[in-house]
């Protein structure tokens, strides 16, 4: 799958703080849409109120869970990107009318969904690189149309399932049962259980 924003996001120093700025979030999201659907056969429209609602809901979740960053920072970055993706699916600010069948399989199966995933994945990968000098490889199955079809059906049923889906793409252990519960994530449980035992 294509991640058109990574190069631009990498140009931003301290992205993990910048992304908490509403103006930056809106601007970078729109830029990602522009790069994902270049002008031509595909037309897209972003609803500002819905986009802001998704940001505010994400912000609330971020503030409620940020104390867990101290347990496993890398895992918290993946979880935060996952909750951002879940809120984008929940509020669904983007609508794409596409006559074009070109592009990658994700864009063809689900243009809006692929734009949300490429944005959040781009943010997570850039923050991981800036914070830990990690460069994660996107798994091959991210280009499989069947994966996208299944993902679409699941997320339409429960937007929080976007969190474990993004975990899979980022190589983190997913929690499919209670995806929105940060403290139930495998990485958090693993690191906090010895402390509970003491």
């Amino acid at each position: 799958m294509r991640l058109p924003m990574v190069a631009e996001l990498n140009g931003e120093s301290d992205l993990r703080h910048r992304i908490r700025d509403l103006r930056f979030f809106e601007e970078s999201f729109r830029k990602n849409v522009q790069l994902t659907f270049p002008e031509g056969a595909t037309r897209s429209k972003t609803d500002q109120a819905r986009l802001r609602s998704s940001f505010l809901a994400w912000l609330e979740s971020f503030q409620a869970n940020r104390h867990l960053a101290g347990i496993d920072r890398k895992d918290f970055i993946c979880f935060s990107a996952g909750t951002m993706l879940a809120e984008l699916f929940r509020h669904d600010p983007l609508s794409v009318s596409s006559e074009a069948k070109s592009g990658d399989s994700a864009t063809t199966v689900w243009p809006e969904g692929s734009a949300y995933v490429s944005y959040c994945l781009g943010v997570a990968l850039t923050v991981l690189e800036q914070e830990f000098h990690l460069s994660a490889e996107i798994p091959e199955y991210a280009n499989d149309p069947r994966i996208w079809q299944s993902f679409k059906e699941n997320v339409q049923d429960n937007p929080d399932l976007a969190i474990p889906f993004l975990d899979m793409l980022l190589g983190q252990s997913p929690n499919w049962n209670e995806p929105a519960m940060a403290e139930k994530r495998p990485a958090v449980k693993e690191k906090s259980s010895p402390a509970l035992g003491n």
Partner: protein, 267 residues
Amino acid sequence: MMPKRQRFPLPPTADDIAAAPLVVKDALRGIRRKLRNISPEITESGLSGQNSSLLSPLAIATALFNETRKITSFGEDIARDILFRHRDEARLAAFGSAGFGRPRQKLSEGHRHNFVASRYAALKILARQLGADDQLILEQPIDTTYLRLLARFSDVLSASPSQNELNFDRIAISAIELEKSGAIQHPKSDHRTPHRAQLIFAALGLAETILNLSTIHTVESTLAALNLAADVIVLRKPSIAAIFGGFDPEAQLSAEFRLLAPPLTEA
């Protein structure tokens, strides 16, 4: 026996004297609003086609009233567009600094006036943005609230220069006290929760917090903060309803400003 001479009642305090012009202005605002809402029984359309020689004195007076009102309101609209906009913008310049969010060593002479005038101008903008253009906004309750807040925040002046932290609680308390003051009256027929005045005052507090966190203090940045705060407060309606209807709204609103303002502040 000669009757005792009545003395003209003097205002009891200097604050009452200072507030007197605001009382007069508010009274005039009320009268102007009532005049706007008057609908004489005989309308302009009711007169058309009638022979003027058959009109009663009441009909002539009504026609005259309608025509005069039309001309006056047209002139008033032009005056408002050209002149009042600049006056309101000048008043807004003090909006961010005229509150109680940050401690200070002394209050400037114009602090009270700036507090009242800037909040009045900001409320007009917010009311317009939140679809309450016709809402009557009064200055005197803002002035009364200022005095009450000044007494409540007596420690605002005691801070040393090193204690310059933004106090979210004071901004939230100011917003709630202003809402209670009656500066914008909540019509009894409006059963929505939160009602519009609550949304307007929550947006006012959020805008004040944004400006206090920002390093940019211009009329443009104040207008941008007011517009953004109004947009965001509308999206947070359920939270605002829970805050105003819940236990300890001051602490809850303060937490809301603490959550929302930093991501909305221009870097």
